[in-house]
């Protein structure tokens, strides 16, 4: 009986683990640019480049590398352009900063507009 329960639990867990790794794999595929295509990720492409890269990434995952290690490897080989999500660093700071500066200036203007008119 214990054995059966153990097997069932094992099956459930392993199934879960497979789908989780599958999910991670797809997540990485979707975030890696197919550099020979126009604006597509390797997930959305069947070019040789995309297929090779997909194989490479799934191999690296099997070898136990994590997401970040894989991105680092890809970036060192192809440049930062290859990942779709800009990594937060000094030169991508403007990307996050500019909209928020606009947000702050806008709030200030609206506030002033309301405050001034009331007085």
């Amino acid at each position: 009986m214990k054995k059966i329960i153990f097997i069932i639990i094992y099956l459930i867990l392993s199934k879960h683990a497979i789908s989780a790794s599958e999910e991670l794999k797809n997540k990485i595929y979707k975030n890696v640019r197919c550099i020979v295509c126009q604006g597509q990720s390797i997930y959305d492409s069947d070019t040789d480049f995309a297929i090779d890269l997909k194989k490479l990434i799934s191999k690296k995952l099997e070898n136990g590398e994590n997401e970040k290690q894989i991105y680092d490897f890809l970036i060192s080989r192809y440049g930062e352009w290859i990942v779709f999500n800009p990594i937060l660093s000094f030169h991508s700071l403007a990307l996050w900063l500019v909209p928020f500066i606009i947000l702050v200036i806008g709030s200030f203007l609206i506030f002033r507009f309301n405050y001034k008119k009331k007085s």
Binding site: N31, R33, Q38, G39, Q40, S41, D44, D46, D48, I51, G79, E80, W81, I82, V83, F84, N85, P86, H91, S92, A94, L95, W96, V98, P99, I102, L103, G106, S107, L109, I110, F113, N114, K117, K118
Partner: protein, 630 residues
């Protein structure tokens, strides 16, 4: 050959007439003799007709496959169906620029017949003529559509197969009517500024000229998105690709403009802001043109190899921006009267609407332009993908929707806290109950972003319905209600679609049947088909889940000119979801083909809501037109 010369001549003549128009206008301004506009009218008409002639000749060159013309040679082929020969005329850089200028001139042409005061009309045509000249010089000297090759090639290079599509034949004209339509708003604004008549009556006329191109642009963006959905074959309809962003930016800016112009019209305030937005909207259109037309998007390096076009457009934009802003600063429109102002008042909420729209615009603008600048400056190329936009936009979208639900229900002149509180007490419970029903009955997803997205879009839809029921002036507000309802449905559908789409990627051979999740896919047969410009292999599939059974026949096409393989998707659509199927040749398993199946919920509603949004705009512009006898 002969026709090419005539076309070229027409282009040159239109430039000469146009320059002539500018000089006679300057003379009129100098002598202050704004009495007889007959000459201006004649020149203005001539420019339009000449451009029309050259455009028709270009189409003629394409339909008769006159390969002595470089543009025809590069983009056409004798074995192409007639419709694509015609649409090929604007499916390339040169031809699309001719269309661009023709539309610029078309707006001048019809504007001259409007009932706006003579002075405003004169100055608007003047500024518009300057724009036309700038673009004509660009066209004639950097991308002439009538360049000749000698000896004449026997056959053309063909049009990229993914552009051989009926939708893509009409997508650019819509987009251009939108983009370029804002040029008139721009010229009209400058005219209003220099004549010191940027006031209520200005915005009354401007209403029509803003909303019409906005509606056309909405349709244009929708068509582009629809094309990407069924032609690219990856089940997506918006990729945050720079080309798509280029069309979204003027749309966002124009949406803000529509709203701020209402305040200028109703309350005679926000003049400066409305003027600034009007200028900015056209600059966004120009930026979009630059991004798409300069080749800079493919890579900064490709741009650097052939920089003439790009550099010209870029300096053109800078010039136009500089001078229009200079006029704006010198002639800054009058300050608002001191009126009573409350927080819970319609004009304040329109300001909030503008605040969010400008924020959304800045996100899209930075995400699109920053990587290009970074690459040009430091040589580092980074990508900005969907996750950036989603992360940064989503939370603000929710607040935006909330304000959008209440703004239209506020009064222009007084504030009524209790009424709004009462409204919240009605909307909130209804939306929460609706949301709970949807979540528990239809799907098992507990993602917080999804729940908030659905909640606020339902909230908006309910507020619009409530507004519609209690509406006393339906005719007046029908356009706004339609567009806002459309927007609510759009956001709702986008969220459901984003979180509930499913996809299956696998490889199959004829006779296979597989079962993944709740879907069973059966590959029943293949058949072949041959057309003039391509051969096609169809795969016939049967897809079923517990409540639906659909037959799908995607195909692979092998085009002959140019030799290229494309994958054509097969979509079965109903009100609940799309069943979307695509096949590809497999590199590794010769006897199998790669299949991709997508289950895309509420796609119909995404397209439908875009049409609703545009319809609201068309209704509104017609109403303005009838009211003001434009």
């Amino acid at each position: 050959m002969l026709f090419g010369y005539i076309g070229n001549l027409a282009l040159f003549l239109s430039l000469i007439f146009n320059v002539f128009l500018i000089f006679s206008s300057i003379k009129i301004i100098k002598n202050n003799s704004l009495v007889n506009l007959k000459k201006i009218n004649f020149l203005n008409n001539s420019v339009f007709y000449l451009l029309l002639i050259s455009f028709l000749i270009l189409i003629y060159c394409f339909t008769t496959s006159d390969f002595s013309n470089v543009a025809v040679y590069k983009n056409s082929h004798t074995e192409k169906p007639l419709i694509y020969k015609i649409s090929g005329a604007w499916g390339n850089h040169e031809g699309s620029m001719v269309l661009f200028i023709l539309i610029l001139s078309f707006f001048s042409f019809i504007f001259f017949r409007s009932k706006v005061s003579e002075q405003l009309r004169f100055y608007t045509i003047f500024f518009q003529a300057i724009l036309i000249s700038i673009f004509l010089i660009f066209l004639i000297f950097t991308s002439n559509p009538f360049d000749q090759i000698d000896p004449k090639p026997l056959q053309g290079l063909g049009l990229n197969p993914i552009l051989q599509d009926p939708l893509l034949a009409i997508h650019p004209p819509f987009l251009y009517f939108g983009y370029v339509g804002f040029s008139l708003v721009f010229s009209f604004t400058l005219a209003g500024l220099v004549t010191n008549s940027f006031d209520k009556s200005w915005s009354q006329y401007a209403n029509f000229w803003i909303i019409l191109p906005w509606s056309l642009l909405t349709i244009g963006i929708g068509l582009g998105s629809f094309w990407a959905y069924y032609e690219l074959g990856w089940g997506g309809y918006w990729f945050w690709d720079p080309v798509e962003n280029a069309s979204l930016m003027p749309w966002l800016s124009a949406t803000a403009l529509i709203h701020s112009n209402i305040v200028t019209l109703k309350k005679d305030k926000l003049h400066s802001w409305t003027a600034l937005l009007a200028i900015f909207t056209f600059i966004m259109s120009l930026l979009g043109t630059f991004l798409v037309r300069s080749g800079i998007l493919n890579s900064v390096h490709a741009f650097a190899n052939d920089p003439y076009r790009g550099v010209y457009i870029l300096s053109m934009i800078l010039l136009i921006t500089f001078f229009s802003l200079a006029i704006f600063i010198i002639k800054n429109p009058k300050k608002a009267l001191n009126q009573e102002h409350f927080f819970l008042q319609k004009d304040n909420f329109i300001l909030i609407n503008n605040y969010f729209l400008i924020f959304f615009l800045s996100v899209v603008l930075v995400g699109t332009v920053y990587p290009i600048i970074l690459d040009a400056v430091s040589g580092r190329s980074i990508s900005v993908g969907p996750v950036y936009y989603h992360t940064i936009l989503a939370p603000f979208l929710f607040i935006f929707l909330f304000f959008m639900s209440h703004g239209p229900l506020l009064s222009w002149n007084k504030q009524d806290k209790f009424l709004q509180l009462k409204n919240i007490k009605i909307f909130l419970p209804i939306s929460v109950v609706t949301l709970l029903i949807i979540i528990f009955w239809f799907f098992d997803q507990k993602d917080i972003t999804l729940i908030l997205g659905l909640l606020f879009s339902i909230y908006l839809i309910i507020s619009v319905i409530f507004d519609l029921i209690s509406q006393k002036a339906l005719k007046l507000n029908f356009g706004r209600l339609t567009s806002h309802l459309g927007f609510g449905i759009l956001i709702f559908s986008i969220f459901v679609n984003a979180y509930l789409s499913k996809e299956i990627n696998t490889s199959m051979k004829v006779g296979d049947e597989i079962k993944i999740d709740e879907f069973t896919i059966k590959f029943s047969s293949i058949n072949k088909n041959k057309k003039d410009n391509y051969e096609e292999v169809f795969g016939n599939f049967l897809v079923s889940n517990k409540d639906e059974k659909v037959e799908l026949s995607p195909s692979i096409r092998k085009y002959n000119q140019p030799a290229q393989i494309t994958s054509e998707v097969s979509i079965k659509s109903n009100l609940i979801a799309d069943y979307y199927f695509a096949i590809n040749l497999s590199e590794f398993e010769k006897d199998k083909i790669m299949v991709r199946f997508y289950f895309k919920p509420l796609m119909f509603w995404i397209w439908f809501s875009i049409i609703l949004i545009a319809l609201g705009g068309f209704y509104q512009s017609l109403r303005f037109k009838n009211e003001q006898k434009i």
